[in-house]
């Protein structure tokens, strides 16, 4: 963690765009993205579970690509890269994103610990591939584990959000 005075670990100045805001922090090279958002910025929505890039609970977006924040170094977000966490998904006025609303509507969570990572992963997919079919959704989401729901309600949520996010057809 920064500010703890470890002599052997040099620090650098990180500049990135976090949930739409330009931020700057002096942090150690060993700082992971999870450490950065949770410890430095108090954004505890990003959860750490397996801590070895397997479970996907810590998924955040870096320039719209999903990464495992537990292992991704904050250093690799330098140079003004856009980092998006679950806290940056809803609209500034608090209106829920269609994905978030869909997760509520389809009961796509129980304990909720995997949920931020699920939503970030799904968001990355729907932004890149708005017309992904079910097989593609499953293939993309396969890197996010859930122990509570049995997955099907999450698929239903992604598909509901997909429909809601399509541009409205002209009437």
């Amino acid at each position: 963690m920064s500010g703890s005075g470890e002599e052997t670990d040099d620090a650098f100045d990180l500049r990135c765009v976090l949930n739409g805001r330009e931020v700057e922090r002096r942090i150690r090279y060993s700082t992971t993205l999870a450490d950065l958002v949770r410890e430095e910025f108090g954004l505890t929505g990003t959860k750490v579970s397996c801590d070895e890039e397997i479970c996907g609970a810590c998924t955040v977006l870096v320039d719209n690509l999903p990464v495992s924040a537990c292992t991704f170094l904050a250093y690799d977000a330098r140079g003004g890269k856009a980092v998006t966490t679950i806290e940056g998904v809803a609209a500034p006025d608090g209106e829920l994103h269609p994905l978030q609303q869909a997760f509520i509507d389809t009961f796509a969570f129980q304990c909720g610990f995997c949920t931020p990572g699920m939503i970030m992963s799904a968001l990355a997919l729907l932004q890149a591939r708005p017309d992904a079919d079910r097989d593609e959704i499953i293939d993309h989401m396969d890197g996010n584990l859930c122990r509570c729901t049995g997955y099907l309600p999450i698929l239903a949520a992604v598909e509901q959000a997909q429909t809601a996010m399509r541009p409205q057809a002209a009437t």
Partner: protein, 765 residues
């Protein structure tokens, strides 16, 4: 019966509706707080030094070098622990030291705790703690532990914890070594019945070591002060933890508070005391709040699922009626008792499944081994014997040339029938549930043999555990309501269900009901959150609290309005008197004269009346699966799932269905992939990299979730508990489907491709 207010002629307003979850917005926005998110001012961090050997005399723990590391404030060792009023804890047997004192009993056992300003600093100092020990022979499995010349894992008989009625050690038999608990039950006469049987079958089934994998690993933030101890923990049973903390530190219960935010998964693995005493001891040592957070690897070393070897000897008459069952089963409990003894004890009764067997004899053993401790898991030792009993039913059916469905229907207990002496008669219609599954599958299977097959299984377990729960409901001056409950929110939706019940009973809008933060210092005692008991028992206590609230308001009205009690009649939203209508808030305003006064209703349940007989309810579920087997690779494709949840009445149907699906998938993990394996003294599967759990792509394309709502439970509106059913029934259903598909019978799970491939090659029958 439950004293619900809802008149029979009014439709439910909130109950039996799939209302959105109370914790929904918090969880989808990342605002929901878990114990792992909690920080306190001045908080420091602890990390645990773990033993490298499975069994040893611990001689010295040298912390001098570690103390010199940057940021390190203190190092806690077993010597500090011996200074405590009770160095050992355990709700059944107090055999578990907070840190190893003079003995190491499993590789990975906590031996010291380094406390430093940051987590990284604590972590960096771990390697500088030097242990010296004398290795002892280790017993790494049941087979090694029970033989005469095995090493002795626990020398002394431990003190008993707060549970009663569970005897330590061998009981009447001394045939085996390292027995933590032995339960022997019998009724009828198994020997005589054996002579009446047309056929007797004897098979041994094996259930593996497994891991619950709650995605939030154990974490506790402890604050030990002169005014009392407060611990925030990701735990299921805060009152039990409080009890153990009070005993360990010699504190009055009034001086200990356990708080539980949202829990990131429990599944029984967070039942009972885990890391809280260690976190509290660290805080006491440094005089500051301490955060102790485990990794997944450490969580595996803290609590796992008991493996079981089960020998089932079952005798039938010429018509396939089961006349006798004789069972000997061994549970691999690991190094400490934890909840293992209760599991082994209860498993004994569960060997009958929901079958009416007139002659039964069971010996169920919990064995100490030098492995990570086992404790509760979802389905709580119904899972292991169910795997055996439901597998064997199919083996018997095949041998007799009978349809497995027909054999089950012939032997399954009828609703209302007593089938275990002294226990509650079966309150569910299991025969009908099994028929529902079979019908949904299109039984007899349209795909049988040539690599495709169907299988079905049913299960039951004793639901409700100990029926002691208290609840309070507070009516505020504006008519809104807060529920005070000790039931924790693990994801199962207890918070939402309790809001629905309170809104229903008090006829207030759902949005006007809140649940107070879960804290033992706020809410009255709730025994536990587990055994599928929350809706049923805490729900009943809440019903009683709502009725008490109405009574209290009534009394206040009589007093302030100066009317006779007989002149006041109850309506949904208030009272009708000769002076007109009073809403609840009108009563408060009239009585106190200020708009913000409130009144509290209290309710409880205990083991009396209709809850005198245990279990509180029989939790039962029936499942069916279809699989396709690739004989070249041994890989099994899971094509279809049907689940029937027999829940009495679903307070929130969407949540109930979610519990069934989630449980089925978790159970499928055990059937197809999940196994912890030891190689020598250490785990060969220490993390998720080697322990495979179900994923999106594993789900069958065809899933049908059915709910049986016959309002035949002891809970509110006839509800029963759910959530632990399918997890137990899935594995035998899959194994039965495999047998139908290939003719090959496996008596050991998980059904890894290698196991299946070998069995196909050997033509195992």
């Amino acid at each position: 019966m439950s004293a619900a207010h809802t008149p029979a002629d009014r439709a439910f307003r909130y109950v039996n509706q799939s209302v959105p979850r109370r914790d929904g917005v918090e969880k989808v926005t990342g605002r929901a707080l878990y114990a792992s998110d909690i920080t306190l001012p001045g908080m420091v961090h602890a990390k645990v030094v773990r033993s490298d050997v499975a069994h040893a005399r611990l001689l010295t723990v040298d912390v001098q070098e570690a103390l010199r590391r940057p940021g390190v404030l203190a190092v806690l060792t077993g010597e500090d622990i011996t200074q405590l009023p009770s160095p050992r804890y355990g709700h059944i047997f107090r055999d578990h030291p907070v840190l190893a004192i003079d003995r190491i009993r499993y590789a990975g056992e906590p031996v010291a705790a380094v406390i430093a300003r940051t987590e990284a600093q604590a972590d960096a100092a771990l390697q500088d703690v030097r242990l010296s020990y004398e290795p002892l022979p280790s017993a790494m499995s049941v087979d090694e532990a029970i033989v005469e010349d095995s090493t002795t894992i626990h020398q002394d008989t431990p003190a008993v914890g707060s549970f009663s009625g569970i005897e330590y050690g061998h009981g009447e038999t001394t045939r085996y070594r390292n027995i933590c608990h032995h339960n022997h039950i019998e009724w009828g006469d198994v020997e005589r019945a054996g002579t009446d049987c047309a056929r007797i079958y004897e098979h041994t089934y094996e259930f593996p070591l497994a891991y619950a994998y709650a995605m939030e690993p154990y974490v506790a933030v402890a604050d030990y002060r002169s005014t009392g101890l407060t611990v925030t923990s990701s735990c299921q049973h805060p009152y039990m933890v409080r009890h153990d903390l009070a005993a360990v530190f010699g504190l009055p219960l009034s001086g200990v508070s356990v708080q539980v935010p949202y829990v990131g998964g429990g599944y029984g693995s967070k039942s009972y005391t885990k890391i809280e005493p260690l976190a509290a001891a660290c805080s006491r040592k440094v005089g500051r709040p301490v955060r102790l957070a485990y990794s997944v690897e450490e969580a595996i070393l803290t609590t796992r699922v008991a493996a079981a070897q089960m020998r089932f000897r079952t005798g039938v008459d010429a018509d396939g009626r089961i006349l006798m069952r004789d069972v000997e089963m061994f549970f691999d409990g690991g190094a400490y008792a934890e909840n293992g003894p209760l599991g082994a004890q209860q498993a004994a009764e569960r060997v009958v499944g929901p079958c009416a067997i007139p002659n039964v004899r069971v010996d169920s053993y919990l064995v100490y081994t030098n492995t990570a401790p086992s404790s509760s898991f979802r389905g709580f030792t119904a899972t292991q014997p169910t795997f055996a009993s439901e597998s064997q039913l199919d083996e018997i059916a095949l041998d007799l040339g009978m349809d497995p469905l027909e054999l089950r229907l012939r032997n399954t207990v009828a609703k209302g029938e007593e089938f275990i002496p002294g226990a509650r008669p079966l309150d569910g219609d299991v025969r009908e549930d099994v028929r529902m599954v079979a019908a949904a599958l299109g039984w007899p299977s349209r795909a049988s043999g040539e690599g495709r097959g169907s299988g079905l299984a049913t299960m039951m377990l004793t639901g409700g555990a100990k029926p002691v729960s208290l609840a309070q409901v507070r009516l505020h001056g504006d008519g809104s309501v807060t529920v005070y409950t000790g039931t924790t929110e693990l994801g199962q939706g207890s918070e939402t269900v309790l809001c629905q019940i309170a809104a229903e009973e008090l006829c207030v809008p759902l949005e006007a009901v809140s649940v107070a933060p879960r804290s033992t210092s706020l809410a009255p005692f709730d025994r536990s959150t587990g055994a599928s008991r929350s809706t049923t028992l805490q729900g009943r206590a809440l019903l009683a609290a709502c009725a008490d609230l109405r009574r209290k308001l009534r009394d206040l009205l009589v007093e302030v309005a100066g009317v006779e009690a007989s002149e006041v009649s109850d309506t949904d939203e208030g009272f009708l008197t000769t002076q007109g209508f009073y809403s609840f808030r009108d009563v408060l305003q009239a009585y106190y004269g200020v708009p913000e006064a409130d009144v509290v209703g209290e309710g409880h349940v205990r083991q009396a009346g209709d809850l005198a007989v245990t279990p509180v309810f029989w939790e039962t579920s029936s499942v069916g699966v279809e699989v396709t087997v690739d004989s070249e690779t041994g890989r099994i494709a899971w094509d279809r799932l049907v689940v029937v949840g027999d829940v009495g009445l679903a307070i929130n149907p969407a949540m109930a269905a979610g519990q069934d699906l989630g449980g089925a998938v978790q159970g499928a993990g055990a059937a197809f992939w999940e196994e912890l394996r030891y190689e020598g003294e250490h785990l060969a599967t220490p993390s998720l990299a080697s322990y495979r759990v179900p994923r999106f792509s594993d789900l069958p394309g065809d899933v049908e979730l059915l709910v049986a709502e016959r309002q035949d439970g002891a809970g509110p509106y006839g509800a029963k508990g759910g959530g632990e059913g399918p997890v137990s029934a899935i594995a035998p259903a899959v194994v039965n489907a495999l047998a139908a598909a290939t003719g090959v019978r496996l008596r050991r799970i998980p059904l890894t491709p290698e196991r299946v491939w070998r069995a196909l090659r050997e033509g195992r029958r």
